[in-house]
């Protein structure tokens, strides 16, 4: 199931995370339950799951935005305790600063980078080109389309030349056409930059299309359900028979997902149940 142990790359070991619950003074909510995952340097891993399965939480832990968890996360052998310029992150909402232009937003990521002004300027120009936004350097976020804003966000995530890029449903808010185009761009960037990428998504197609492996997570509490290797040559063809078979297997995982009664916190009012919309239904809903 898992890859061979590596000193390089990301090691996630027995990670559990609890949130204090709002409605109950006594209880805490287990959002991640004993997650273990190894990711090799340069690998593209898709983390797939319905909303509420803790996949974004896992990403935030790897990013270092939240250090309150049990277990251990190591990146290149070093324990994650805080954020790092070695780990770039792209959020679903682009989170560009509205008072800065596109290039200034990218430059803002370099504020603490050990580069000269000239080097920073060059790095910004280079990454503007990387995401194909020449001509829009001086545009403010409100002047950009959703897809363009997300490109700026990707450039901002990459400009520090991180070893890992974490993507939290980066294309979730985009229309289908833009999403497809940006998926191809992301793949091109990944092949070009040769860095590790973790993509959190609830889109099965996207997960298979981009990932070397697809990690499927089950909700309540969030845990790894299955890890599928995608041994298809890139660029992948969504109508390829093997692609379709893999998708069906993964979707079947979600469809006949039994209620995990043993994991349910009693009285939490958050029973995992059959009424949960299936991933297929969601995709139709878009």
């Amino acid at each position: 199931m898992t890859t061979t142990t590596v000193s390089e790359g990301i090691r996630i070991r027995n990670v559990s995370k609890r949130y204090a619950q709002q409605d109950e003074a006594n209880g805490t909510l287990l959002v991640l339950d004993d997650i273990s995952l190894d990711i090799a340097q340069g690998e593209f891993v898709s983390v797939l799951g319905a909303s509420g399965c803790g996949k974004s939480t896992l990403l935030r832990l790897v990013a270092g935005l939240d250090s309150d968890y049990r277990g251990e996360i190591r990146v290149d052998g070093e324990r994650v305790r805080d954020t790092s310029l070695e780990r770039g992150i792209v959020f679903q909402d682009h989170r560009l600063f509205p008072w800065l232009t596109a290039s200034q937003n990218i430059l803002a990521a370099l504020r603490n980078a050990p580069l000269s002004t000239q080097q920073k300027r060059e790095a910004v120009a280079e990454h503007v080109a990387l995401v194909g936004l020449e001509g829009f350097e001086h545009a403010y976020p409100h002047q950009l389309s959703g897809g363009m804003a997300q490109r700026v966000a990707i450039a901002r995530g990459l400009v520090n030349r991180p070893r890992v890029l974490l993507l939290d449903e980066p294309f979730g808010a985009l229309d289908a056409l833009t999403r497809g185009r940006l998926q191809n761009e992301l793949q091109r960037i990944w092949q070009h930059e040769r860095i590790t990428m973790i993509l959190v998504t609830h889109d099965v197609d996207e997960a298979i299309y981009l990932g070397d492996r697809v990690v499927t997570m089950a909700p309540r509490p969030g845990r790894v359900k299955r890890i599928a290797h995608v041994d298809l040559p890139r660029p992948r063809e969504r109508s390829d028979a093997r692609f379709v078979r893999l998708r069906e297997q993964i979707l079947a995982d979600f469809s006949d997902q039994p209620a995990p009664a043993d994991h349910t916190t009693p009285g939490s009012g958050l029973r995992a149940n059959a009424h949960e919309p299936r991933i297929t239904e969601w995709r139709l809903a878009w």
Binding site: A63, L65, D82, T83, S84, L85, R87, G88, I89, F91, D93, R95, F97, P98, W99, L100, T101, S103, L107, A108, A109, R111, N112, T117, K120, R121, V124, A125, E126, V128, A129, L130, G132, E134, G135, F136, E137, H138, A139, Y140, H142, Q143, L144, N160, R188, H192
Partner: protein, 297 residues
């Protein structure tokens, strides 16, 4: 493959990292003219109907001598008084005295408000220490301080400036503090991902994000301090000022002088309002989408 892309179109390397790439490269004059034209065509002419009708009615009533009272003066009387006030320099003296007070009170109050608001917004200790007092303080009507101020500072300019500073301080402090608290944690998270220090966070994330709210506070301070100028001149009666012109008029039953004073006060308020709006628009235009030409280009 990215390096072989065609050269940027709008991108000129010279200005690549110049701090705010404003639209200074565009020809300024024609843009201004068209903006003025746009403003004129967008102006709500119908808004003039009511004042013009009121003026016509007033003129009609006084011209036909429908009301026999010394308290109803004709527009011509007011115009004559206005001319006399302007010519004798009385208007200039009164207005400059008032505006000088307004300006010093506004500057002192705004500076204090920014400091206080920033302290309340950034520091948890300050919030716990000063917060409750400040919140209570806000609830006290400004005019309730007048007796205290007059005891401490007399009736002269000093007392008035203190009163005006107070009037300006409250909205600036409140809006600065609120603006800082309202900054989205999503931006803070981005800054954390880039390892911003606390100081960098405050300088490059919190303050720019809070700027619109801070501007609202300063804008209100300008308006409030002008309103308070009149109040101060009424209640701390000493020296000259446009408020004293009004008082003189009412004491001498000179309604022409009173009406003239009211017009001056209104016009000054309107001018201050327009000034504040103009500055605000200029500073915040870039992010709110007023300058849309660039996106189209």
């Amino acid at each position: 493959m990215p390096s072989t892309r065609p050269l940027p179109r709008l991108f000129s390397p010279r200005k690549a990292s110049g701090p705010p790439p404003c639209s200074c490269d565009a020809p300024v004059k024609p843009e201004r003219q068209s903006a003025l034209k746009q403003r004129l065509s967008a102006f709500n002419w119908r808004g003039l109907v009511l004042p013009l009708a009121a003026f016509a009615l007033w003129w009609l009533v006084s011209a036909l001598h429908l009301v026999k009272s010394g308290l109803l003066v004709s527009p011509a009387d007011v115009a004559r008084t206005a001319w006399q006030q302007i010519q004798s320099g009385a208007l200039l003296r009164a207005l400059s005295a008032s505006l000088a007070r307004e300006a010093s009170g506004f500057v002192i109050g705004t500076a204090g408000g920014l400091l206080l608001g920033a302290a309340l917004g950034f520091s948890r200790v300050a919030t716990r220490l000063i917060g409750p007092t400040f919140d209570t303080f806000k609830q006290i009507s400004l005019f309730a301080w007048i007796p205290l101020i007059s005891v401490w500072f007399g009736l002269g300019d000093m007392a008035k400036v203190v009163f005006l500073s107070l009037a300006a301080l409250l909205p600036v402090a409140a809006h600065t503090c609120d603006g800082i608290h309202a900054v989205s944690p999503r931006y803070v998270e981005v800054a954390r991902a880039f390892r911003y220090s606390r100081l960098q966070m405050a300088r490059f994330v919190i303050l720019p994000a809070a700027l619109p709210s801070i501007f609202t506070g300063i804008y209100l301070a300008l308006i409030y301090s002008w309103l308070a100028t009149l109040g101060a001149e009424y209640l701390l009666v000493a020296g000259s000022g446009i408020g004293n012109t009004l008082i003189d008029g009412s004491e001498q039953f000179r309604m022409d002088l009173v009406l003239f004073g009211i017009i001056v006060v209104g016009a000054t308020g309107w001018a201050l309002n327009a000034l504040a709006r103009g500055v605000e628009r200029r500073v915040l235009a870039r992010r709110t989408g007023v300058s849309r030409e660039r996106a189209a280009a």
